[in-house]
């Protein structure tokens, strides 16, 4: 039993090396990682362990998409790793290691678990690129009531309130003034009556003969 497994492993790794030396098959997908761009100082070094994680994550993605089919790390074959950190990979099918899973199936699997794959590497859609698989874009944030209507409402409310105040205030002041002079006139009349008792007669006929008429006629 152990021997069989050992034989299969040797065969698959030989098969993998064989695959890599050939031309890029049509089922392959290019992957490009831009770790330094995404993380800057906190960037981790890309090494074989990271590659293992990549293979494991992709196997996970295939498992989630095709439930029941238990893909393994050995099913994910990675080739042509460059210092850029870019490579291509293919997924070998479970039954027959020489057959490759179609592009469409791989694309579906990647799309479904894209978020998980990104977060495993602390990267985003733009920094972990699968060439040929366009990321589904997040819709722009759109609140239910447009905020500008709210601000507009506030400004217009304030302006209309201001207009009302400016128009109504003078009317109120006029009314107040009307009431006040009525009170002043009352007090005036009292004083007038008082002085009339002591002062010269206010009532009577105005005698024209003593007035200066000259200004009306000219000689």
């Amino acid at each position: 039993m152990l021997g069989k497994i050992f034989f299969l492993l040797c065969l698959s790794s030989a098969w993998a090396e064989d695959l890599c030396s050939k031309a890029v098959p049509p089922e392959a997908y290019y992957v490009r990682l831009s770790i330094k761009t995404a993380l800057g100082d906190k960037a981790y070094v890309w090494n074989d362990n990271e590659m293992f994680l990549f293979q494991a994550t992709l196997a996970f993605a295939m498992r989630s998409q095709f439930s029941g089919q238990e893909y393994n790390v050995s099913n994910i074959v990675v080739c042509d790793e460059t210092p850029r950190v870019s490579f291509w990979f293919v997924v070998t099918s479970l039954e027959d290691p020489s057959r490759l899973v179609s592009r469409g199936d791989v694309e579906q699997a990647v799309r479904k678990s894209r978020n998980r794959i990104n977060s495993a590497f602390l990267l985003t859609d733009q920094t972990l690129e699968f060439i040929g698989i366009t990321p589904t874009l997040a819709a722009p944030v759109a609140p239910n009531t447009p905020p500008w209507l709210i601000v507009f409402g506030v400004v217009m409310g304030a302006v209309f309130a201001g207009i009302l105040v400016l128009l109504v205030l003078p009317l109120i002041q006029k009314k107040r003034k009307k009431n006040q002079p009525m009170e002043d006139e009352d007090s005036d009349e009292e004083t007038q009556v008082k002085t009339a008792e002591n002062g010269p007669e206010r009532s009577g006929v105005y005698n024209m003969s003593f007035s200066d008429d000259d200004k009306f006629t000219q000689m």
């Binding site: 850029r84 874009l137 217009m156 302006v159």
Partner: protein, 637 residues
């Protein structure tokens, strides 16, 4: 120069010095007054400092030789702007009337000048308030994070962005599609865009409330609208100078190119900018100085205002170009890093192996070693000078370049709010002068009943203007605004300014004006003012007018449209105007300019007919009651 055209009856039409002094002592008359000198100065400063100082002057400065442009600008400020300012201040303060009243008092045949001023103020006010409406829209939309012009909307199947947005940019799309929903030509009105209608409504109601009781309310509003822009400019200056690449912009702005001084168009543009910047010939300045106390030192005011305008223009230009420099540097850096990514992806090089400094060397190395691959790559051209000089004038500056720069600054909503509040204040304070130049002549001409209170007059004016402004709320509105901007505010203002100078110097009499100034401020104006009033300023304005007419007549009438289907999209396409535009241009530019001679002609005809009728009646009367005349009838005293 003793050349004065005979002007009979002038003394009966204008108040004498004794009248004015008496009126001032008794505070008789219902003419409004300024609460204090600061209000008057702030109102004039606000009127003169407008949006043009932020988006027109820096462009002119940079395109006409940078620091060298300041030389013609400052020279013409002193030779053209200051004398005209003192002329308007002096005549308003002396004759104590608004623009129509002043010209009617000098000579009834000259009332056309006042009417022309009113028409020009009205036309300019209409499109200026539309700009304010757009600014308000952006202001209302600045209260959210992220700002709405940072994102493109997705297309139908969510695989990419809307094509129009993808090909141009998020800020372009937001301005031309979301804000304006612009159609592809001025013919195609395309219906009313209701967000703009709401913004127009808010703009006109804000003007209404600020000017509801004339200068008694606008004089209080101006404390905010005239001072706030300076504070915001200072904040932006400090923020701008700390941004990366700001000094690139400032250096680009002020690097002098002395060869530009030989180019006549530099001087013409400088002269035109001074004329428009001072809001001369709008009628508002005459009105404002008529509310002054009679012994106010208007000469000092003219000098102060000129100095403030000149300094503010330079200040605003500096701030603008720090932001432009920042944006250009940011774009340049991202252009270079895009190219670096393209190169390193193509040759699978490790990420940080190529930096901005060794990019050129690396490119050459790969070009020599593997030219075919390099040729196939799509490299962008990164030109800093081009980035610094693109789209930096007018609405393009405020709504496209600046909004994009703001999105790249940390804390963008705050900067956006500050910027648009500043533009709003600049525009509002100019509009106060504008509406003064419309409402006061309307009252003087008795267009509206005299019994109506100021509130009603302002309200009716604002309402009618709002209805007319709905023209700009159409989908083709942006093209109408550009049309108004080009034609309503150029030739008519120059002709009115020229008429004003001729009227005061040769019809009112420069000697009489000198005497008035001596009475008002205590000394006669110096030889500088005399020479500039009589020769220099009218000559400069005449030259600008003639050159402007000549260049306009030679140019074909074309305009820029936003057409997603055009070849060079996102660059705007240049399209000829339809033929009916000529009628509109005549309405906008011709009618106000021709109002001066037309009114004089109409009045001549009217007076002639009246005289004929009166002499006909007189001869009838004398024939009927001949003998009675000897004994001194009613006319005997």
């Amino acid at each position: 120069m003793r050349l004065v055209i005979p002007n009979p009856g002038l003394d009966q039409r204008i108040p004498t010095y004794e009248d004015i002094e008496r009126m001032e002592k008794e505070e008789a008359g219902d003419r409004p007054k300024w609460d204090n000198k600061a209000q008057y100065i702030l109102t004039c400063v606000g009127f003169c400092i407008g949006i043009g100082n932020v988006w027109r002057f820096p462009y002119l400065c940079q395109s006409h030789g940078g620091g060298a442009f300041l030389i013609p600008y400052l020279i013409l400020l002193v030779l053209e702007g200051m004398p005209l300012l003192l002329l308007e201040f002096g005549i308003g303060q002396r004759l104590r009337k608004g623009s129509v009243g002043v010209w009617r008092a000098i000579n009834p045949y000259l009332t056309g000048v006042g009417i022309a001023s009113m028409l020009v103020s009205l036309l300019i006010g209409l499109y200026y308030n539309t700009l304010i409406a757009w600014i308000m829209w952006y202001l209302f939309n600045s209260f959210q994070n992220p700002l709405p012009w940072t994102q493109c909307p997705l297309n139908d199947n969510a695989t990419g962005f809307v094509s129009e947005c993808q090909r141009s940019s998020t800020v372009d799309y937001y301005f031309y599609r979301v804000t304006l929903n612009s159609s592809t030509s001025i013919d195609d009105s395309g219906g009313i865009h209701w967000p703009i209608v709401l913004c127009l409504l808010s703009a006109w109601t804000v003007i209404f409330i600020c000017y509801i009781r004339g200068i008694s309310t606008s004089g209080k509003a101006v404390y905010v609208t005239a001072i706030l822009p300076y504070i915001v400019l200072a904040i932006f200056l400090i923020r701008g100078l700390t941004l990366k690449g700001a000094m690139n912009g400032v250096k680009f702005l002020f690097t002098p190119d002395v060869d530009e001084l030989i180019n006549p168009s530099t001087w013409l543009d400088a002269g035109a900018q001074v004329f428009y910047a001072f809001s001369l010939a709008w009628g508002g300045l005459i009105s404002f100085s008529s509310y002054n106390p009679v012994h106010n030192n208007c000469m000092q005011d003219a000098v102060i205002l000129s100095v403030i305008t000149g300094l503010t223009s330079i200040y605003a230009a500096t701030v603008t170009y720090t932001i432009i420099g920042f944006r250009a540097t940011d774009r340049y850096d991202s252009c270079i890093s895009d190219n670096i990514v393209t190169l390193s992806n193509a040759f699978d090089l490790p990420e940080d192996s190529i930096t901005a400094s060794n990019y050129e060397a690396a490119l050459n190395h790969y070009n020599t070693s593997d030219p075919t691959t390099v040729l196939g790559l799509d490299f962008k051209i990164c030109d800093m000078q081009k980035l610094l000089s693109e789209g930096v004038e007018g609405t393009g500056l405020a709504f496209i370049v600046f909004t994009e720069a703001i999105t790249k600054m940390p804390g963008s909503p705050i900067w956006s709010v500050l910027f648009f509040v500043m533009l709003l204040c600049l525009g509002l304070s100019t509009l106060f002068g504008n509406i003064e130049g419309v409402v006061v002549p309307l009252r003087d001409l008795n267009v509206l009943p005299k019994k109506w209170p100021q509130e009603a007059v302002t309200g009716v004016t604002c309402f009618v203007a709002f209805i007319i402004c709905l023209l700009f709320a159409q989908n083709s509105g942006v093209y109408w605004v550009t049309l108004f901007d080009n034609f309503a505010g150029s030739v008519p203002l120059l002709t009115i300014g020229l008429s004003e100078m001729i009227a005061i110097v040769y019809i009112y009499g420069i000697d009489r004006f000198n005497e008035d100034l001596k009475f008002m401020i205590g000394h006669k104006p110096s030889i500088f003012w005399q020479v500039s009033w009589r020769f220099i300023s009218p000559l400069i304005v005449l030259v600008i007018l003639v050159f402007y007419l000549v260049t306009q007549a030679q140019k074909k009438l074309t305009y820029l449209v936003w057409d997603p289907d055009s070849e060079n999209f996102p660059t705007m396409a240049s399209v000829p105007y339809p033929s009916w535009i000529n009628a509109v241009v005549f309405l906008l530019a011709g009618i106000p300019s021709l109002a001066v001679p037309l009114y004089a002609l109409c009045r001549l005809v009217f007076v002639y007919c009246k005289k004929k009728r009166a002499s006909g009646q007189k001869s009838q009367l004398s024939a009927a009651s001949g003998p009675d005349r000897e004994f001194g009838g009613p006319g005997g005293r």
